[in-house]
Symmetry: C2
């Protein structure tokens, strides 16, 4: 695991705005912090992805306080930091080159939101040939309505997206499972 | 609409194998044929995407009959055809260059499956800056179980994935809506 990168996607203050809707898994940040602590303790690569929105009304615009990382995941010296303006952390960034240059072929992905930026980043990572673990309880999303007006709960969206991603783009595992298998 | 490309993803014989599971929307192919007929009638660009699997047991391996396009969507002269081996039609293919070279900025995406190759292709298309319409009833998927063993129906997966994609990566519209607004 020593060269496995922890990729933390969009854990930013602006995602606490009520306008996003009802979120599932309020413990996601706590799980991310536990994984980050282990990665730092072992000296493994950590990559922070920050969404810098170009949408006029987004709380994640770079000129707004919501664009800041949440305090508990603020990068420290030596950790990589990429800014993006679309969902995939691989589009418009140097992420792929950064990983290839360091012979990093294995990724553990966590962050927000399950079905938007986490899913898109996981899909591209898998399709680009990286060996990806997606941590089921270290990600979360918001409820949404479809184009037909039908409402879907955050938990249903989360669960179904994990099912679609597992075994096709990544392996889905729990924080506990990742911590225990990679701690020694 | 004259320079809007119809992108038909993975409508191949091997996806009729029972091993994929229970599928929703058996009418997807009929809707795709109706869209294809209008695109051909109007002389608009049509792009066929063919999955050529590198998985040992896949019916979509290029040396197997399942890799063939379904008869009703077989390409005709003048239509583009890209082969891929991962979910995204933009990875390992010339699709993006093909579209940019022809100043095609608007795409209508249909095909199989909603949550794997159609979703991944729609996400990348949107993130690469294309204006994407995803046709709700011209795509379909299969039921799946999550990493936790929980079963999800094809219809639930389909509906939730469309809800996650709509207004973030694309606009989701029905075949009837696309045909009526683009027919004249």
């Amino acid at each position: 695991m020593d060269n496995t990168a922890l990729i933390i996607v969009d854990v930013q203050k602006g995602l606490d705005e009520p306008s996003w809707g009802v979120r599932n898994n309020p413990d996601a940040e706590q799980k991310i912090v536990a994984l980050l602590a282990q990665w730092r303790d072992k000296g493994r690569p950590v990559v922070h992805i920050q969404h810098c929105s170009v949408e006029p009304d987004s709380p994640l615009r770079p000129d707004r306080p919501g664009c800041e990382f949440k305090d508990e995941v603020t990068p420290v010296a030596g950790e990589a930091h990429f800014k993006k303006s679309v969902n995939s952390a691989f589009i418009g960034t140097g992420l792929e080159d950064y990983l290839r240059d360091r012979d990093i072929s294995s990724l553990v992905i966590v962050g927000l939101t399950t079905d938007h930026c986490v899913s898109t980043t996981t899909r591209m990572a898998g399709n680009l040939g990286f060996d990806v673990t997606l941590v089921s309880d270290a990600t979360a999303t918001f409820d949404r309505a479809g184009h037909d007006g039908v409402h879907h709960s955050a938990e249903s969206i989360h669960d179904i997206h994990l099912a679609s991603l597992n075994d096709e783009f990544c392996l889905v595992r729990s924080t506990e499972d990742v911590l225990s298998s990679s701690g020694s």
